[in-house]
């Protein structure tokens, strides 16, 4: 098998950008192979912070030959033209053929292009390919106007059939020597395709992310074995550590018991977000005075790294305790005025202004005194040292302080929760008051941003308005709130519509057309919309549903074609024809007031029969109009639940029947 190896050696790439980068690398390279008819496929892509590695197999030595039919002058142009064409093609006139197409006969030549050496194609294309990998923020390092990449490229290994694929990029020449771990390896390690991974390992680099992950997990398990402790799983942190290390080694550290007096939220945030430590808990799930740090080196024989980390954590916790004590000197309620000095958004003024709006909105939405109190104090923690230092703890700190300062549990819990839900997976606030506050806060952000024209565009959403809107939807649906999007302009309504559709479709898994159908019947009451969706979803598999939905679609078309625009009319009984028309009318009345689910069964055959036997487009204008009214009313009754014409049906048989035309 002809193998290829590419290693892009760099300075440390931000961890979160690495997986997308190697996926792109694989895609770009496979595309290069296919486009150049080189055969082969990408076998693997791997990465550490300092290298992006691609391996491919089955490449041809040489590009496949290609054959192209080139049309020349018309045959009628004669031998002179043919000679000229042949010369241009590098051949003789007797090698030309004649090709006939609708325009006539033409001289033609089958031009054979001999495939180039794979290595030279790779050498020509790899520099651009590497620079094509997209990163969110790039830099230049060789001077203005030179190549851009995520961090400086420092070496390149490019090997095909174990020879160097020679090219230059950013002033570097590709070669066959890699670099090991900064401290555990050599900075020049000759490699072959076969021994690449071994050589790296011998130089302190575990190339496979999977192996690094496994090493971390297994060694954490053995660190905690027999200690009656367990790690709190954190897959996002694990991924970060996998891509921030070349040779990860976990160590167990501890902190003074006295710090457990601080709120757990603070301790965990400090460990997780500031120090990238895993938290540890005892068998009862109680936070233990321990942590797990992951080093980027093989061992800590003297305990220096552990002690260093413990010292840093101690300082951080001391800070937190200091912040807590200092912050208590000024109560949340005495900080409301200080919010005038905290910018919400340049065009929208301060958090004091926002607070006033949210208090009013909470009141408008029927919030009680506690809800209004919570709204007044909710943003005050932004002025505390604790939140200035640990911004992730906004809201949570406010809730904890409110409680410590004697606010009611209802107020404290609402403040604590009011940034929730932070994602579609995150839970909504635990209490009714919290849900109302969170809703009002998010809705105020949305309405005021839209009011000054700051709607998200494309991928740009600097104020996380999509997340805010998603939070609104989640709270209103799961909290079963009455909320009709007060004060939304058209743009915001359109925006919310998208988010609602997205939620029911992608998060809740309702079918696309069901969501469309039910939303067409209104979405100003989301809990009601949810109920309707559940009903439609439940009856959808029943045998009569799709057919009646198809009939509704037909009715809608008929009414549209007839320009029927009346509302509130009732069909005149005396104009009904005996048989299918009267029977449909009677069935509608008989089942009137019953739920959709029990009406569909009996109605479906009547509707079918009606369309089979009755000509809607009756010659007599009064009769025709009466029939349209009958159909219109039927449609209207069901349309309160959903616009069934939006349901995608498989109705080849029905649709092929002639529809009355007017």
């Amino acid at each position: 098998m002809n193998s290829f190896l590419l290693e892009i050696g760099t300075e440390e790439i931000p961890d979160w950008m690495i997986p997308p980068a190697i996926n792109q690398l694989a895609e770009l390279f496979q595309n290069l192979l296919d486009r150049n008819r080189l055969g082969g496929k990408v076998n693997s892509v791997d990465a550490t912070p300092r290298r992006l590695v691609l391996r491919a197999e089955g490449l041809l030595d040489r590009q496949q030959d290609s054959e192209e039919l080139v049309l020349g002058p018309p045959k009628s142009a004669g031998q002179g033209a043919a000679s000229g064409f042949a010369k241009k093609m590098g051949t003789t006139p007797d090698k030309l053929g004649v090709e006939t197409n609708p325009k006539g006969e033409y001289f033609a030549f089958k031009k054979l292009t001999k495939g180039k050496q794979t290595s030279s194609i790779l050498a020509a294309e790899l520099p651009q390919l590497i620079l094509k990998i997209h990163f969110p923020k790039t830099m230049y390092w060789n001077g203005k106007g030179t190549e851009r990449f995520i961090r400086p490229i420092r070496w390149i290994v490019a090997s095909f059939l174990n020879s160097v694929v020679p090219f230059e990029i950013a002033g570097l020449q590709s070669g066959s020597a890699t670099q090991g771990h900064r401290l555990l390896g050599s900075n020049s390690v000759p490699v072959t395709i076969e021994n690449f991974e071994e050589q790296l390992e011998a130089n302190g680099v575990i190339l496979s992310a999977g192996n690094r992950r496994k090493k971390i997990e297994e060694e954490i398990a053995s660190l905690l074995q027999g200690k009656n402790l367990r790690v709190r799983p954190d897959s996002a942190l694990l991924e970060t550590l996998v891509y921030i290390t070349e040779f990860p080694t976990p160590i167990l550290g501890g902190f003074d018991l006295q710090f457990l007096e601080l709120p757990q939220e603070v301790l965990v945030t400090v460990m997780r977000h500031h120090q990238k430590y895993f938290s540890v808990e005892d068998a009862n799930g109680k936070l233990a005075p321990n942590f797990i740090a992951v080093m980027n080196i093989n061992a800590d024989p003297e305990g220096l790294v552990r002690r260093g980390n413990e010292r840093v954590l101690r300082a951080r916790f001391n800070d937190a305790r200091f912040f807590w004590q200092v912050d208590q000197k000024k109560k949340l309620e005495d900080r409301v005025a200080d919010l005038a000095n905290v910018t919400f958004q340049a065009k929208l003024g301060s958090y004091l202004q926002k607070t006033n709006r949210v208090v009013a909105l909470v009141k408008q939405l029927g919030g009680n005194d506690a809800a209004q109190r919570a709204a007044l104090l909710a943003k005050c923690d932004l002025t505390t040292d604790m939140v200035k230092e640990f911004t992730d703890l906004q809201g949570i700190v406010g809730g904890l302080y409110a409680k410590a300062q004697g606010e009611s549990d209802e107020v404290a819990q609402a403040i604590y929760d009011h940034y929730k839900p932070l994602s579609m997976e995150n839970e909504i606030p635990a209490t009714e008051t919290g849900r109302l506050l969170s809703l009002a806060d998010k809705w105020d952000t949305l309405t005021s941003c839209f009011a000054v024209g700051m709607a998200p565009t494309g991928s740009k959403d600097p104020f996380a308005l999509r997340r805010a809107a998603q939070g609104v939807v989640l709270i209103v649906v799961e909290g079963k709130l009455k909320f009709d999007f007060p004060g939304a302009d058209d743009a915001l309504r359109e925006f919310m519509r998208d988010r609602i559709e997205y939620y029911f479709r992608d998060v809740r898994g309702f079918a696309y057309d069901e969501v469309r159908a039910c939303m067409a019947a209104g979405w100003n009451n989301l809990p009601d919309l949810e109920q309707r969706l559940k009903r439609v979803q439940a009856i959808r598999p029943t045998p009569d549903f799709e057919r009646i939905a198809a009939s509704f679609k037909r009715i809608k078309n008929i009414l549209k074609q007839a320009n029927y625009a009346e509302t509130g009319a009732t069909p005149r009984q005396d104009l009904l024809e005996a048989g299918p028309e009267s029977e449909l009318y009677d069935e509608i009345h008989r089942t009137d007031g019953q739920p959709l689910e029990s009406r569909i069964g009996p109605l479906r055959p009547k509707v079918d029969l009606f369309f089979d036997k009755v000509l809607v487009n009756a010659p007599d204008e009064t009769v025709r109009h009466n029939r349209l009214t009958l159909l219109h009313n039927l449609l209207t009754e069901f349309s309160e639940i959903a616009d069934f014409s939006e349901i995608v049906t498989d109705t080849v048989g029905q649709a092929s029947r002639p529809v009355s035309s007017s």
Binding site: P49, K137, K144, I244, N296, R311
Partner: protein, 309 residues
């Protein structure tokens, strides 16, 4: 075996200066005006501009009035000391050179954990930004490492590496001190002996006593003086003589006054953006003028690096 005695504060500073001196850096003294960071000293802000190579290292006491804690917080200071290194252009082995500097101050890297974590630096009032890392040593951030991309709103011709060492943190680490005030500055003298009073008194002034009206007046005066100078440049005959450096000092004055006003809580939300824009406008104009003037000055001859590790 007795553990080695950890270096004092001043030994650490001296070792770092020696190390970078050996690698071709000019060793400068701190800039003698109030600045918030070593980046603001002209040795960085102005020298990184333009096509001339430059290497410099200096300690810069950096004043951040709002960070003061009356000397009561073991880790927070109104004024901390940065060791600032500018390598323009950045050499290909810049990270190895940096790691060598840690060994030079007694850190055995085989026994510690070093990580480079993404941290992009930006100073909007200087129109400056770069990408880089915070360097973590056993979980402690010890250095900000930045590849400058823009300064004064101008794309840089040569990309400098800026290394900013947090000296108090590093020395506290080396000495295993839980409070910066316990750091041994030199045998028998603690950091507290040297600097505590400074922290206490400036916290009182910055947070409580600084006169807001006067500060605003000073700000306006420095700003208009700077504007007056900048307006003269286009018609100034003998351009190489033009005092752009004094004009930049006036920007630094404004920047510090802004920080003071901020710590006094005297800048409202609506004003804040506007005042920052005023400082930024001056800084951008200085950068542009400097580049223009520098283009007609004779180049500085930089000592080539002699002993690269």
């Amino acid at each position: 075996m007795t553990p080695p005695v950890p270096p004092t504060f001043q030994q650490t500073v001296l070792s770092l200066k020696q190390y970078w001196s050996d690698r071709g850096c000019i060793i400068q003294e701190p800039y003698d005006l109030e600045v918030g960071a070593g980046t603001m000293a002209p040795e960085t802000f102005l020298r990184v501009l333009g096509p001339k190579p430059y290497r410099v290292a200096y300690v810069q006491p950096s004043r951040r009035p709002a960070d003061g804690r009356y000397g009561e917080n073991p880790n927070r200071l109104y004024k901390h000391q940065q060791l600032q290194v500018i390598l323009k252009p950045s050499p290909a082995d810049v990270i190895d050179q940096y790691l060598g500097s840690l060994e030079a101050i007694g850190i055995d890297l085989r026994k510690h954990d070093i990580k480079f974590e993404e941290d992009n630096w930006e100073a909007p009032t200087l129109g400056a930004w770069g990408v880089g890392w915070q360097v973590m040593l056993d979980g402690l951030e010890i250095t900000q490492f930045t590849y400058f991309q823009q300064c004064g709103g101008i794309d840089l011709d040569l990309v400098p590496a800026e290394l900013t060492y947090g000296l108090e943190r590093i020395v506290a680490f080396l000495q295993n001190a839980d409070s910066v005030y316990d750091i041994v500055w030199t045998p028998g003298v603690s950091y507290s002996d040297v600097r505590l009073k400074d922290e206490q008194q400036f916290s009182v002034y910055n947070f409580e006593l600084a006169d807001v009206t006067s500060l605003w007046k000073h700000f306006d005066l420095y700003e208009s003086e700077c504007q007056r100078l900048l307006a003269m440049y286009p018609k100034y005959e003998d351009k190489p003589r033009f005092p752009i450096l004094p004009a930049y000092d006036l920007v630094l004055k404004c920047s510090h006054l802004f920080n003071l006003l901020d710590s006094r809580g005297a800048i409202s939300v609506t004003e804040r953006v506007g005042v920052m824009a005023r400082v930024r406008k001056l800084a951008l104009a200085i950068a542009e003028t400097h580049v223009g003037q520098d283009g007609i000055l004779p180049p500085i001859v930089n000592r080539p690096s002699e002993s690269v590790r």
